[in-house]
């Protein structure tokens, strides 16, 4: 799998300029490669981050979902060696300040950290009962569900990438 992933990483080329927030993910000596064949159906960009010629250490995926007011653009980072989510970031949103606007708050985004990429996250309203539960932002269920949907979409896509690379 690793060999195949390395080949994939090496073979990829970027037709568009890589955004700054993606470039910042690469440490010294690392490069970023776009994996366009894994884009589509709400996933607008997929990148592999790592040292060229070595297995990538991170998958970065951008997805668009419909929020309460308008679309929300989400960046989902997955640590490849552990298969856990490393971070979720909101790249763009138009939600109302008093409600879904809390979507960019670190305390909400932290709820997505360290989740197993092999699972499906579930939105809950009051308190998390299992490790796959994500507690909604108070009073902003639509927005919260949208972000959970976006992350789940990226987790499914990540599993597809891993599976196909294994083949």
């Amino acid at each position: 799998m690793i060999v195949a992933f390395v080949c994939l990483l090496t073979a990829c080329s970027c037709r568009e300029a890589v955004p700054d927030y993606i470039l910042k993910l690469a440490a010294d000596g690392e490069s970023i490669e776009r994996m366009e064949e894994y884009e589509g159906d709400g996933i607008t960009a997929v990148y592999a981050v790592g040292v060229k010629g070595k297995p990538p250490r991170m998958a970065a995926q951008e997805s668009y979902v419909q929020g309460f007011n308008d679309t929300i653009k989400v960046l989902v980072l997955i640590d490849i060696p552990t298969g856990l989510t490393e971070g979720v970031h909101i790249l763009e949103h138009h939600e109302t300040d008093d409600y879904g606007g809390y979507v960019t708050e670190e305390w909400f985004l932290q709820r997505f950290a360290g989740k197993d990429a092999g699972t499906r996250l579930v939105l809950v309203k009051m308190a998390a009962k299992s490790k796959d539960d994500i507690v909604a932002i108070t009073g902003a269920t639509y927005t919260s569900q949208a972000v959970v949907d976006a992350v789940n979409m990226c987790l499914i896509n990540y599993r597809r990438i891993i599976k196909e690379v294994e083949l």
Partner: protein
């Protein structure tokens, strides 16, 4: 087969095809039929209506066309959010009062109405507002038709809190005059809550503790359930809520905005922050902590708390010659009317709400003070 027969068959087939084509070209679903009322769809579309109940023996359905056909006013209106933020709008629509006139009523004569949105959000508008403010059934805001989530009508009460500006108005309930029951027993909210099963409730970034209102109601053991619960918040905000809505929620008693009425199934605009007083029928629940801010404090020896006399007076507990104080464990103490002003209600070092009487025997002290009522 003869030629005339074939012509007849051809014409018959043509007729069938024509009818079929006509049927296919009619919309299978009109937008109004497709619309989910909860999603706030379809303003001004044919067949849309709001329901007015309580005016006559049966519900009245008023179409949006009818509403738009009434004379409209255009006003510069300001809404005030719960945080005090003001927003200014140019609002156009007929006055609710003009709609009422069609049914021989006047807004000023109503004792209360409840505005209900398509998503279930609802709020009661008290008589003070109905008598002093205009209620506009807005169909245009800032010169533009209402957006998808706001259509078909937005209730607007200029210069009032934004909680009264109801998007996607679905129903207006005209309320009957309710006889306000005299308060017979005052409960200390903190002690009552301590008797219930608490659970985690995530509120924004913090995990706080909350109890089910239904369980609190069970602990009160009210003889009869009133229709509404009346709230006063520490900042003076007043609100009535239907008991069937209140009973499905929670009281969050730790963290920000506590005591806070909320529910995962209610829009945030229906939450009630910093509850100081809640009256249901002849029972009143008072938060000792909030009362310290609202009623002020008094110091007795090293104990700082609320004056018991004030705590009795504020919720409207009827005057009595004697009062019975009850603790959560059932311990009771009887005091005279004159002893009321010797009492201070404070939180002891264990966090228990306690009543202490200056100059009275120690046995009159009530820890985990649950309630007080007048006795013969």
């Amino acid at each position: 087969m003869g030629k005339p027969v074939r012509i007849i068959k051809f014409l018959a087939l043509l007729l069938v095809l024509t009818l079929a084509a006509a049927a296919c070209s009619a919309p299978a679903e009109t937008p109004a039929e497709k619309a989910d009322p909860a999603e706030g769809q379809a303003g001004g579309q044919e067949g849309e209506r709001i329901v007015i109940s309580g005016l006559e023996s049966t519900d009245i359905e008023v179409t949006v066309e009818e509403i738009k056909g009434l004379e409209s006013v255009t006003v510069e209106a300001t809404s005030v959010s719960s945080s005090g933020e003001q927003n200014h709008y140019t609002v156009t629509g007929p006055l609710f009062d003009d709609l009422l006139k069609k049914y021989g009523k006047s807004q000023k004569d109503l004792v209360g109405i409840r505005l209900v949105a398509g998503d279930g959000y609802s709020i009661e508008v008290p008589p003070e507002i109905l008598q002093n403010r205009e209620l506009i059934l807005a169909h245009t805001i800032n010169g533009k038709p209402l957006d998808e989530r706001t259509r078909p009508i937005r209730a607007v009460i200029p210069e009032e809190r934004s909680m009264y500006w109801i998007r996607n108005l679905a129903r207006i309930e005209v309320l009957e005059s309710a006889q306000k029951a005299e308060v017979a027993r005052v409960y200390i909210l903190e002690t009552l809550i301590s008797q219930a099963n608490a659970e985690d409730y995530t509120y924004y970034e913090s995990t706080d503790r909350a109890v089910k209102v239904q369980e609190l109601l069970g602990l009160l053991g009210l003889d009869s359930m009133p229709d509404t619960a009346s709230f006063v918040a520490a900042d003076g905000f007043e609100k009535n809520e239907q008991l069937d809505i209140f009973s499905k929620g929670y009281i969050k008693f730790t963290g920000e905005d506590a005591p806070l009425f909320l529910s995962p199934d209610l829009p945030k605009g229906m939450y009630i922050k910093s509850i100081y007083l809640c009256t249901m029928g002849d029972a009143a629940l008072v938060s000792q902590e909030m009362a310290m801010g609202v009623l002020g404090t008094k110091q007795v020896e090293d104990k700082e708390g609320v004056d018991l006399k004030e705590l009795i007076k504020a919720p409207g507990l009827a005057d009595a010659d004697k009062y019975l104080l009850t603790a959560a464990d059932g311990y009771t103490v009887e005091i005279s009317r004159d002893d009321r002003e010797k009492g201070v209600v404070f939180k002891n070092s264990k966090g228990q709400i306690t009543v202490f009487f200056e100059g009275l025997p120690k046995s009159t002290q009530v820890k985990d003070f649950l309630s007080i009522e007048g006795i013969e």
